[in-house]
């Protein structure tokens, strides 16, 4: 019979409505809800055991219907400050009018009680009261007691307008009714500024700083944290570690190159070292001029020459075998962050955004200038057939240039075949696919961290993959359909992605102690060498070169027997210098 909860709830909220007038009395913003879980300590509740009476009460039955239709009232009833004195009055069952009225100085125009039942209540309550000799009618007496005539009169007048009145209307109303509206709620005419929309520099800074707070995907931060596919197991430990003291921790430089003669060139500050993978011997090739530093190295296609870019804009040509500097090609105004060879053409990307083709055979070495970047060129790669040249810059642009030199004199401007502006950060990682010449993979820096694969014939973007962190270099597997990327903060990882699905095949977390900056692939295509700001070179055996079937396809290396493998003279840490 007794509906368990809801009627009680209703009854309670019903009992609350009498408090409504006191909204007006006080700070009509103060919202006090009787805690929904705890029953209020109303005496009638305790004293009237005939709670089912609630249901029989016609007013209680109608009230829930009318409530939703009067949101204004609900809001207003929100602001009930039931001071202790007031509560004691209600609990006493009697409210002295004077007491309430004295609290009633404040009538804000905001409060608009619903029109109908307020009136009805004020009229009907006494009637019920008269009828009620019952215990139930305590409720009604209670309601009646709070239903002060003075308040009702005011409310009735105000309630003619069910909409919240405009300020002027309220003022007129107040003037007409003589009700003192002596409190105002004022707000500033403007809305507060939207979050940082006004301050673009701050938003910009936030955008830049965001990657620094990037969460490492995955929970474990073990030093060798690695994930591999079930089908593909890769060694998560480097095969060899070389100490490379003084390696410059600069994203924009390219300080590592691996020749087809199985020699690794690495630049440490102002010196260049050659580490022969076959013998494990280290030789210092030479030093760049005083007061500057080596900013890029690249082996020529036959591995006999090393191009060295220098911070002051010179491009040097070294003979690897004899260790002699053959010539210095100057003319650039900025540092040479990247170099790429195609036969006798050595192309250099400069800090001022220009790319020069140097013909190393002729005295007037500068045969062409490509102007297409507004930022430093930090990624530059010739396609193996020399038809196309891809460049990436600090202006977030990838350019693909026609490699034909033509009969253009010095200063002639080349124009890019394709200009790709999809990256949102510096593009340092650029690589041509060795087994499908039209494919170009590029990777963006910190704010981008995206791998894009382009079709250089159509100019279409074929694949896109977001990675967790800055892409510092990218390599295609020679024999597998896979892409290797190296990453900066926060994962410092080496990742291998399948192509064309772009699924993650493997990841070596924290391959280095700081961001992995450079990578190069062995001529055999099985070992990858990475260099990082932690002054280490690490050699990872990523791919297995299948002995029988793939040997034919293998690029001609000088020593077939070792297969271009790093000679395992000794495991452990060796020193470059």
């Amino acid at each position: 019979m007794n509906h368990p909860k809801t009627p009680r709830q209703r009854a309670r909220s019903e009992a609350k409505t009498p408090l409504t007038p006191s909204v007006i009395t006080g700070l009509n913003n103060v919202s006090l809800a009787p805690s929904p879980t705890k029953p209020t300590s109303r005496p009638f509740k305790g004293r009237a055991p005939t709670a089912p009476g609630d249901l029989t009460n016609p007013f209680l039955a109608t009230r829930p219907k009318s409530r939703p239709s009067s949101p204004v009232k609900r809001i207003a009833s929100a602001g009930i400050p039931s001071s202790d004195s007031f509560r004691s009055q209600t609990t006493g069952g009697v409210i002295r009018k004077g007491g309430v009225e004295s609290r009633l100085e404040v009538v804000t125009h905001d409060y608009v009680p619903p029109p109908k039942h307020e009136v009805k209540r004020s009229k009907s309550t006494p009637a019920v009261n008269r009828v009620g000799a019952d215990k139930r009618d305590r409720f009604i007496t209670n309601r009646e007691s709070t239903d002060i005539a003075a308040v009702a009169a005011t409310l009735d007048q105000l309630s003619l307008n069910p909409q919240p009145p405009s300020p002027t209307h309220a003022a007129r109303l107040a003037a007409a009714t003589g009700v003192p509206v002596n409190r105002r709620i004022l707000g500033y005419h403007e809305a507060p500024p939207a979050a940082s929309s006004s301050d673009t520099t701050l938003a910009q800074q936030r955008e830049f700083a965001k990657p620094l707070y990037a969460q490492r995907p995955g929970a474990l931060s073990t030093s060798t944290g690695a994930t591999t596919n079930k089908t593909r197991k890769i060694a998560t430990q480097p095969e060899r570690v070389l100490d490379a003291p003084g390696m410059v921790d600069d994203f924009y430089l390219n300080l590592l190159s691996w020749s087809c003669q199985n020699a690794v060139a690495v630049a440490l500050e102002s010196s260049t070292y050659i580490w022969k993978a076959d013998t494990g011997s280290v030789a210092q090739l030479g030093e760049c001029p005083e007061g500057t530093y080596v900013s890029s190295v690249d082996f020529s296609n036959d591995g006999a020459f090393l191009g060295v870019g220098v911070g002051n804009g010179d491009v040097e040509l070294w003979d690897v075998e004899s260790g002699q500097k053959l010539r210095t090609m100057s003319g650039h105004q900025g540092q040479i962050a990247t170099l790429s060879w195609h036969q006798h053409i050595l192309s250099s990307g400069c800090g001022d955004g220009s790319i020069w083709h140097h013909d190393v055979r002729i005295p007037r070495h500068k045969v062409m200038e490509l102007l297409g970047h507004t930022g430093e060129v930090c990624g530059l790669k010739w396609r193996s057939d020399g038809e196309l040249l891809a460049s990436g810059g600090n202006d977030n642009v990838v350019n693909i240039w026609d490699g034909r030199l033509g009969d253009v004199g010095e200063g002639a401007r080349g124009t890019a075949k394709w200009v790709k502006r999809n990256h949102t950060a510096a593009v340092k990682a650029v690589a041509w696919c060795p087994w499908q010449p039209s494919l170009l993979a590029t990777g963006g820096g910190t704010n981008d961290a995206t791998i894009n694969v382009w079709n250089s014939t159509t100019g279409a973007r074929i694949h896109t993959l977001r990675t967790p962190s800055q892409i510092t270099s990218i390599q295609w597997a020679v024999q597998q359909k896979e892409i290797l990327t190296t990453h900066g903060y926060p994962t410092n990882s080496v990742m291998i992605h399948a192509y064309p699905s772009m699924e993650r095949v493997a990841e070596i977390r924290d391959a280095h102690d700081s961001r992995v900056l450079f990578s190069c692939i062995s001529p055999a295509g099985d070992v990858v060498c990475t260099g990082a700001g932690d002054e280490n070179l690490k050699f990872w055996r990523i791919w297995d070169v299948a002995s029988e079937t793939t040997k034919k396809k293998k690029p001609p290396t000088t020593r077939e027997t070792t297969g271009g493998r790093v000679n395992s003279t000794k495991e452990g840490i060796l020193r470059i210098r």
Binding site: S31, G187, Y188, P192, S198, L202
Partner: protein, 218 residues
């Protein structure tokens, strides 16, 4: 002689109405900033740390917001001086639905001036000693700390929010035309709100009582 000295000292330490208004306004500035930071109305890196009241307080460095608060608070200070404002409300509203989620209410009350006339001989009769500034500061500190600690039990807001500052003034208050307009109280329905009274602080002239009401639905 002794009373004269005491009186001098009292004069030195006593906070005038003007000083009190400045103090209260300054408190509002830091309180509003703390609320905006703690409730993440603005991104947290908009804020930088400032030493105040012997603790670090986070204050916005978004120029637009700074100016906005400055304009509001300077008007607030005028109202406090004339005694025509009795409440300041920082309402935190849902950006999309415009539903008020939280209301941080600061009641501004005038402390009854002591019955004793200034300069009267019987200093024993005037029980009110000027409140040392250190004590006021520690009270302010307590409120600010309380605002910070509130975060632990206030409901987590998942949606973007905006805020609004309301001033409850008397009818007679001088209102700059066009700058301040009558507004909705942005109240939270009583059935869906919970409220928590916070600490208060007082200067010799004003007493500030703080309270927060928040939307709480089960």
């Amino acid at each position: 002689m002794a009373t004269k000295q005491a009186g001098k000292q009292a004069n030195k330490q006593a906070i005038t109405l003007k000083g009190s208004a400045v103090l209260v306004t300054e408190f509002f500035k830091y309180a509003v900033n703390t609320i905006l930071f703690q409730r993440e109305v603005y991104p947290s890196d908009d804020f930088h740390m400032v030493k105040k009241y012997g603790q670090t307080v986070l204050v916005t460095q978004d120029l637009a917001l700074e100016n906005y608060l400055e304009r509001i608070l300077s008007q607030m200070q005028k109202w406090i001086l004339t005694g025509s404002v009795n409440q300041l409300v920082v309402a935190i509203i849902s950006k999309d639905t415009r539903i008020p989620l939280e209301r941080w209410v600061f009641d501004i009350m005038l402390v009854e001036p002591p019955a004793g006339v200034e300069g009267s001989e019987d200093s024993n009769n005037a029980p009110r000693q000027p409140k040392p500034e250190a004590e006021i500061q520690s009270e302010i500190r307590a409120i600010l700390k309380q605002i910070i600690s509130m975060v632990t039990y206030l409901p987590v807001i998942h949606e973007p929010t905006v805020f609004n500052i309301l001033a409850y003034t008397s009818e007679s208050a001088d209102v700059p035309v066009g700058e301040w307009v009558d507004t909705d109280p942005l109240a939270i329905e009583a059935s869906k709100s919970q409220q928590v009274k916070m600490r208060s602080f007082s200067t010799d002239v004003h007493r500030i009582e703080a309270m927060v009401a928040y939307r709480y639905e089960e």
